[in-house]
């Protein structure tokens, strides 16, 4: 039973760690499927993390914070679109610029607004996303009623109840939004006219243009969706997982999301499994400092590096080929 409880706890941690990756990964999916490479996911998340925490701290409402986070991330998306769609600049350079801009601007504005050295005040009460307790799930309320600790109650519960209480219930609303976005993304991309055109614009924009559909309009739409999803990811980091913004708090998650996107070969369901896998690796690394496998000790550093190693393996073509959208990275020019 103890082993089982441990596994459930690791999976619970996996879901929390995978959520920001999943949101950022889906954001990148929309953008890259439309032919706009985006390595600015990290910067957009960071910007949103700051503005969501700052507005939540000032207004006391986490929902206003979420809106502000999405708006700030959208603004960066617009910048990326302007540079790489309208002015046909290099998409990678624009993405790098966004990352640097976000890293510098967040700390600068935070210092000017709050004078706490580039961080926001700690969020309390309505300034944070609370976890959602499903009916019948074991939570802090039961613990209060019975006067026993939550972990105590958990160890007495049966398997199904445990899975329900720990894994399914008790996350913030943004986690459920993130996982619902997976079927939604699949449906939009593969079952709607908009999705068909969006995929086409990433493969062969000239054909879309010939059909009389605006390439620029579609690409801006994709980049905007990317901005919204990155905004939610940033807000999740700062207002649900944490209680405030700290400089550079995304800590490379935008790049792991990009790795997951390549690992998933630009497909929504695979993206979810890739993010869950990377989340699981992180969760295991956090839970066990060193893993002893019958005499062979795997150091924690190896676990930390595994997502990147897997991505390199995929890119090298060992596990099937990862072929990006054909028109990815190239600005569309109507006439030469």
């Amino acid at each position: 039973m103890d082993v089982f409880v441990t596994i459930i706890q690791i999976l619970d941690s996996t879901i929390r760690l995978a959520t920001p990756l999943l949101l950022a990964c889906l954001a990148g999916l929309y953008s890259e499927r439309a032919g706009i490479f985006d390595i600015g996911l990290e910067g957009k998340m960071l910007m949103s993390a700051f503005f969501s925490a700052a507005v939540a701290a000032l207004s006391g409402s986490v929902w206003l914070g979420l809106l502000a986070g999405i708006a700030s991330s959208l603004a960066l998306s617009g910048l990326h679109g302007l540079a790489s769609i309208t002015f046909r600049g290099n998409q990678l350079i624009s993405g790098v610029a966004i990352n640097f801009l976000a890293a510098g601007m967040t700390v600068l504005v935070a210092q000017d607004w709050f004078q706490q050295g580039g961080r926001t005040p700690s969020l309390v009460g309505g300034g944070r996303f609370e976890s959602v307790e499903f009916p019948m799930a074991i939570g802090p309320k039961d613990a209060e009623l019975t006067g026993r600790s939550v972990s105590d109650l958990m160890s007495d519960a049966n398997v199904l109840h445990l899975v329900y209480s720990e894994l399914i219930s008790g996350h913030s609303i943004l986690v459920y939004i993130a996982f619902l976005m997976v079927p939604a993304t699949w449906w939009i991309l593969f079952r709607t006219r908009f999705g068909l055109r969006l995929r086409a614009v990433g493969e062969n924009p000239a054909a879309v243009d010939t059909a009389g559909v605006s390439v620029v309009g579609l690409r801006y739409a994709a980049v905007a969706i990317c901005g919204v999803l990155c905004g939610i990811a940033g807000a999740y980091l700062a207002t649900a997982l944490q209680a405030g913004f700290v400089k550079d708090m995304t800590a490379g998650r935008g790049f792991i999301a990009l790795a997951a996107l390549i690992f998933a070969k630009w497909r929504p369901w695979h993206a979810m499994w890739a993010c869950l896998l990377f989340g699981l690796l992180q969760a295991i690394a956090l839970r066990f400092q060193n893993i002893d496998l019958g005499g062979v000790v795997i150091p924690v550093q190896a676990m930390d590096a595994l997502p990147y190693i897997l991505t390199v393996v995929i890119l090298a073509g060992f596990v099937g080929k990862a072929i990006p959208p054909r028109a990815g990275g190239e600005p569309y020019v109507k006439e030469r």
Binding site: S13, G117, L241, Q242, K247, D248, M249, Q289
Partner: protein
């Protein structure tokens, strides 16, 4: 014309003397940043205290990358700053390279004790002694018999903290279970509160009900999650009791502020050599204030006071991780 000339030379002379008299001290913060509510912030507080008392000013820089270390040192040295105070173990190599080139400039290195340079004041802290005391308090406050330790970047200094902590906890309860984790192996580990939170949750699920964070900005996440989940935490370097009143058991104080203040006060006359600040010199200690008064029982404070005296008198020997690069009480 001659009048003009003499006026100008007079002005120049005034400017020169002003420059000479203005041998400002300089302070180089480590990558954690000036307001990490911990190690670097303690240095900032010490420097501010000196500035407020004397009305003088000092120069400062917050390093943003490894490459800036030597550059910042040379810039300050060229500009005539004296003494130049550096924070953190990672300044050792740049100091070794730069200090010899500026023999008239005094350098003060906090957390560095192994350099062979005549113009460097090297200040080490006996963190294991302070950590021993908070380890005792953790073991006394724990009801589950499991306490946690979360370090920042995995370096000998942080293991040094963890080792003292484990010895203190074992001194109170030999059967205690100590869960220890490091956040990472890169400097990013000092600023990843999300990972700090997740580590805290992992340790709580392993039964820990008091967690000691020696992790710079990452510790902010540890203390936050500990407060959210209703367990106790222990802060580090600065007094962090006020961050979550009634939820932070105590803080292991490392009086970096005193070290910086003293160095600035001494100015360019600062004494060089290797100095260690332990319990006896009040270089380390435990934070007791209104915010944690309700958490610290009388037994606890008595035991801590006794242990402090025993360590100073040499009756208790807290083993340093540096002695053999291993810890008798904890396996990392």
């Amino acid at each position: 014309m001659t009048l003009m000339k003499s006026l100008m030379s007079a002005a120049a002379a005034v400017a020169m003397t002003a420059g000479a008299a203005q041998a400002e001290p300089a302070l180089i913060f480590d990558l954690g940043g000036k307001f990490d509510k911990s190690f670097n912030e303690a240095a900032h507080n010490g420097a501010q205290r000196w500035a407020n008392q004397t009305g003088k000013s000092y120069r400062e820089i917050e390093l943003q990358s490894e490459a800036q270390r030597e550059q910042a040192l040379r810039r300050f040295a060229e500009a005539g700053a004296n003494p130049i105070i550096t924070m953190g173990f990672a300044m050792a190599d740049p100091l070794a390279a730069v200090a010899g080139d500026y023999p008239d400039t005094k350098f003060v290195a906090v957390d560095v004790t192994w350099l062979d340079a005549p113009n460097v004041r090297q200040i080490g802290f006996a963190e294991h002694e302070g950590s021993y005391l908070v380890g005792m308090m953790a073991a006394m406050a724990s009801q589950s018999g499991t306490v946690g330790f979360i370090g920042g970047m995995d370096i000998p200094l942080i293991r040094h903290f963890g080792c003292g902590y484990a010895q203190g906890a074992k001194a109170v309860n030999p059967n205690i279970n100590i869960v220890a984790n490091m956040t990472g192996t890169t400097p990013a580990a000092w600023n990843d509160p999300v990972k700090g939170s997740e580590l805290t949750k992992a340790q709580i699920s392993q039964g820990a009900d008091v967690i000691y964070a020696a992790a710079g900005g990452t510790g902010v996440g540890v203390l936050q999650t500990a407060a959210d989940e209703g367990i106790l935490s222990i802060g580090v370097d600065s007094n962090q009791n006020h961050l979550h009143p009634g939820k932070v058991l105590t803080s292991m104080l490392k009086r970096v502020d005193v070290a910086v203040y003293d160095a600035m006060k001494a100015g360019d006359e600062v004494e060089t050599g290797v100095f260690t600040m332990g319990l006896a010199q009040e270089g380390v200690g435990v934070a007791m204030d209104d915010n944690n008064a309700a958490l610290v029982s009388e037994d606890m404070s008595k035991a801590v006071d006794k242990a402090r005296q025993d360590i100073i008198d040499g009756n208790i020997n807290v083993v340093s991780y540096y002695e053999s690069d291993s810890c008798p009480a904890l396996q990392f």
